[in-house]
Assembly symmetry: C2
Homo-oligomer: 255 residues x 2
């Protein structure tokens, strides 16, 4: 069993606590948070502490704190030469203090509080400074998930950016769809099968091929009708920019 200490009390720490304590390869020996209240609920399963000087011996220390606190926490750890990883998609490996061996253990998912998750489907993106440490992370990740990838800091930066487009921005488009429905007294629920189908489709084909709609067809009549229909300046701007972008992608020829 690989001995793990988990540091952090937020969303990611809570989900990792759940996943790690259920892993058959992991002995979760301790959890740490400065704000001990945030991890009180772990007590039934795992010893907890709010004191870095009480950290137990482990094979890996997983720092699952907010991006801005990673550096500080990793500096404050009162030992050196051990294996310490962070869990951020947004930070390079080298934000961790040099005094320990370093790595990244990044679960690429949007974690919501309290929402149950199927960890086996979450992609884990792993990186280590020293190749010899890689296998430790790999064993842990593979005991949780079927999807484990070796991703370096440069790639992780790109991945995080791509995730903003396919998650944060996509959700904002859902929100605009919801606004349009609400204005017309239509339940948003009507759109949900379409939303699901759109997301399912790109499992089977590339998004480039999956594109449909008036911009793709260069259906100028519909495009004009839509623009005339919108009242919000903001909606119009987004409509125009994304339509232009689709038309640039496929050329403006009428299909």
């Amino acid at each position: 069993m690989i001995k793990v200490v988990l540091l952090g009390g937020g969303n990611v720490a809570h989900h990792l606590h759940e996943a790690l304590r259920l892993s058959k390869e992991v002995d979760l020996v301790q959890c740490f948070s400065r704000n001990i209240k945030s991890i009180n609920v772990f007590q039934n399963f795992t010893p907890i502490t709010k004191n870095l000087n009480e950290l137990k011996e482990a094979d890996v220390y997983i720092i699952a704190v907010s991006d801005d606190a990673i550096s500080e926490v990793s500096e404050a750890i009162p030992f050196s030469g051990k294996f310490v990883v962070h869990t951020s998609g947004n930070k390079p490996l080298n934000v961790l203090s040099k005094k320990n061996k370093r790595g990244v253990f990044y679960p690429l998912q949007t974690f919501s509080k309290g929402k149950e998750m199927d960890y086996s489907k979450i992609p884990f993106c792993l990186e280590t400074e020293d190749e010899r440490d890689y296998n430790t992370l790999k064993i842990i990740a593979e005991s949780i998930s079927q999807k484990v990838f070796k991703i370096d800091s440069e790639q992780r930066k790109s991945l995080h950016l791509a995730a903003v487009f396919v998650n944060n921005f996509v959700n904002h488009l859902y929100k605009i769809g919801d606004d349009i429905c609400q204005e017309s007294g239509i339940p948003f629920e009507i759109l949900q099968p379409l939303i699901e189908e759109t997301s399912e489709k790109v499992k089977e084909m590339q998004p480039l091929e999956a594109q449909t709609g008036p911009a793709r067809r260069n259906d100028v009549k519909t495009l004009d009708a839509h623009k005339a229909q919108m009242k919000s300046e903001n909606q119009i701007k987004i409509y125009e920019l994304l339509t232009d972008s689709i038309q640039e992608t496929y050329g403006r020829k009428k299909l």
Copy 2:
């Protein structure tokens, strides 16, 4: 049983043929297409014709042709006083010829050729000029799907616009995510669980609440880092506009 004649040979006609012939409330008496080849495969199940003068007697005539052809086909039908509907989300009821009783039978879904669909989850949006015809469409729709809504022409226009945001534009954001991955040698597959989770989330909460990410948090450092990272002018423009729109929605205060 409600006697139905289906007109059209495209994607929607093919899917409706499948759904209608399996319906226990429908007697699909005939299919029509000018381009008879496009519906040759229906022959094993349903009589076909390419001649409008040979249209059989039915309770409903469903015109599932391209938006621009609806008017023409409905004019060319050689009878009057019967019940004729179209299937377009994009056209009002009154594009149909006045000589028949009119309605709309609109399945809100993105139909891909050859892809099997679970019709029971497709929302059907129904409208009739005469209230007395509504029940006929309702019986047919409810025999196919669990989700049947009464939606008038104005609402349908809004719904179609909303669908462009949550389907066409969302797919384009997937495409940009794919581009960013490809540039960095990352398999797009890594993003799929996140894409799925994002679409699942709005079944349980409103998109307004579900929003996460650097724009929502007003995390200026990450926003700047992302902008510096992108090479494509087009990506930058979309990133900035959607970030602005999210910040406007939630205010620019740091969370």
